[in-house]
């Protein structure tokens, strides 16, 4: 008798809990969506189940009255570049911190981590002055450069590389491989889940970034999604249905990326190289 033929009560309970939890998780997104299809929506404290006059006019407003398509393109472009850059800088640094011992490596790693410990709110004015000195204000490059390296990504990948058995390294070294080959052909393929995870998080952090793009990108052609969303709120009044439509539009690409990346995050053990 195979255990898969019996429906164990534990599995049923598990399913129920997971589904109930998922419904709870889905709720705020559903509320966002419902508000977006409620024309002239006020900021209701009691989310309604379904509006009688549901319409997509908020989405129409979004794309016709504001240059939202351009804004989305900006966000996508910047997020892609940031993600690729962070993958590269994080993987290389992580390899060094895991596989290349040197005097003072711990201190250097601590300094890397330290870059995460000062809030952006305090760095923004000096950073802005610095980018001004480089002549990069109101440019894509100015928005991108500070995002090229992230201690978060380096830390994440270092943990992952530490999990790759050194025997694999040594096997390759015996075959005459230098560090660059070990990095590219042994280590990287074995940390795919972490790379996929970092892809999602790097993309997300760029996608949702607000404060830096706000001060460095001023021209309407350059602005990104979070700024445009905030700009939907006026000094005195706000069209909440349009704001929520913007939120929905903002969430979808992120979700799509995550679902796509999931395949790589959840790999069978067989393909992770552990024999």
């Amino acid at each position: 008798m195979h255990s898969s033929q019996r429906v164990r009560p534990r599995t049923v309970v598990l399913h129920v809990v997971v589904i109930a939890g998922a419904l709870a998780m889905f709720f705020p997104f559903m509320w966002t969506f419902i508000t977006s299809i409620t024309p002239g929506a006020g900021f209701s404290i009691t989310p309604r189940l379904w509006p009688e006059d549901a319409s997509l006019e908020a989405y129409q407003t979004l794309f016709t009255e504001r240059p939202f398509a351009r804004v989305i393109a900006n966000s996508i472009g910047l997020a892609l570049v940031t993600t690729l850059a962070q993958l590269f800088t994080s993987a290389t640094a992580a390899y060094a911190f895991s596989r290349l011992p040197f005097r003072g490596r711990g201190v250097v790693f601590a300094i890397y981590l330290a870059t995460m410990m000062i809030p952006l709110q305090v760095l923004i004015v000096p950073l802005f002055a610095e980018l001004k000195a480089f002549g990069l204000l109101n440019t894509y490059l100015g928005a991108l450069l500070p995002t090229f390296a992230s201690a978060f990504g380096i830390f994440l990948l270092r943990q992952a590389i530490n999990q790759v058995p050194r025997e694999l390294d040594e096997a390759a070294t015996l075959d005459g491989a230098g560090h660059f080959r070990v990095f590219a052909q042994i280590v990287l393929p074995n940390i795919r889940p972490a790379l996929a995870t970092l892809t999602v998080f790097a993309f997300m952090s760029s996608w949702n970034a607000f404060l830096w793009p706000l001060v460095v990108l001023r021209s309407p052609e350059l602005q990104t999604l979070p700024i445009a969303l905030a700009g939907l709120q006026g000094q005195y009044t706000t069209a909440w249905d349009v704001v929520m439509a913007g939120s929905v539009v903002s969430i979808l690409p992120m979700l799509a990326l995550y679902i796509f990346a999931q395949k790589y995050i959840i790999q069978g053990v067989a393909s992770s190289g552990i024999k």
Binding site: P28, F180, I259, Q262, V269
Partner: protein, 315 residues
């Protein structure tokens, strides 16, 4: 390990390196260049765009500056004022309260999720996607929904408590419960984040370890305690360190849910830093406060890094 006794060791020309040095390769030019090649891509942006401004912020912390008129050097006055002000202690206390509630909740919840969704469950890809949804939903929407759930008068939570005869608290309108409301909303929102990290970690656990444990007769609980959790420790370490670093800098959720109220009971450090810089014209004091925060975070992180030898098992 049994050491050989009284074995004559032939004299060698180069003394054997011991301890850390035993693992360190020789510092040849080639090796140095290799290390540099791997470190520079990240070191240059970090140095230019984070460390540089950090140093500038340190300089600003010794000045009085409202951003609009020129800076005025005042030495350690900002630090003295901050350390003497009871509000500094308050904002740190609120921040620590946040972390103390948030971290256990989000880790245990995220772990449970990761374990549950790691098994062969029907439609688990869909569930994983849905559980990740709050992570990418904006705080504006999450805050509204949670304030509605925790509405003291007719929110779902208090209604449910009422069925059990419990008089629900004022949640986000009550200074004693406001931070708890923020913690609940934050932990809930970030479950998916922890889940993703731990799922990736679970993938790297050698299934042979589980097989061996089953052969030894270990039950599910025992396998969890003796195989999963230790083997997951590098990911756990990551989650704990990052959650602490981010937790100390919590801002968005507080701003969205209570704005620091009611009565300043949820004012946290970074909210104070932002207010000081952009609303109260005290950028110097804000920088000083952020450096105090830095010292705290650094200390906590260093303790964890040192402590990892005790409980983190790498392959």
């Amino acid at each position: 390990m049994v050491l050989p006794t009284a074995v004559a060791t032939p004299p060698s020309r180069t003394p054997a390196r011991s301890g850390r040095n035993a693992r360190r390769p020789r510092a040849t030019i080639g090796y140095v260049l290799t290390v540099l090649a791997f470190l520079l891509p990240s070191a240059v942006p970090l140095a230019l765009f984070v460390l540089g401004p950090m140093i500038a912020a340190a300089w600003i912390s010794f000045t009085e500056w409202n951003l609009i008129t020129p800076m005025e050097f005042i030495g350690l006055a900002n630090y003295q004022e901050l350390l003497a002000d009871e509000r500094t202690g308050e904002v740190f206390l609120h921040t620590i309260q946040y972390i103390a509630g948030y971290l256990p909740l989000v880790y245990v919840g995220g772990l449970a999720l990761a374990l549950a969704l790691n098994r062969a469950l029907k439609g688990r890809s869909l569930w994983r996607g849905i559980y990740f949804l709050p992570v990418v939903t904006s705080w504006i929407a999450v805050a509204i929904v949670w304030r509605w759930l925790l509405n003291p008068n007719n929110g779902v939570v208090n209604l449910a408590l009422g069925w059990f005869g419990i008089d629900g608290p004022g949640w986000w309108t009550d200074p004693d419960w406001a931070m708890i409301s923020i913690i609940l909303a934050s932990a809930w929102k970030d479950l998916g984040f922890v889940m993703v990290i731990l799922l990736a970690g679970l993938q790297s656990i050698n299934p042979e370890l589980y097989d061996a444990a089953k052969v030894d007769g270990a039950g599910a609980w025992s396998r969890l305690r003796n195989v999963t959790i230790p083997m997951l420790s590098p990911s756990t370490f990551f989650v704990v360190v990052i959650s602490l670093i981010n937790g100390f800098q919590v801002f968005d959720q507080v701003y969205a849910m209570t704005g620091g109220g009611p009565g300043g009971s949820t004012q946290v450090v970074v909210q104070q830093i932002y207010d000081l810089t952009f609303r109260y014209g005290a950028a110097g004091e804000a920088s000083a406060l952020s450096w105090l925060l830095f010292i705290v975070i650094l200390g906590v992180t260093v303790i964890q890094i040192i402590g990892q030898k005790r409980w983190v098992h790498y392959a």
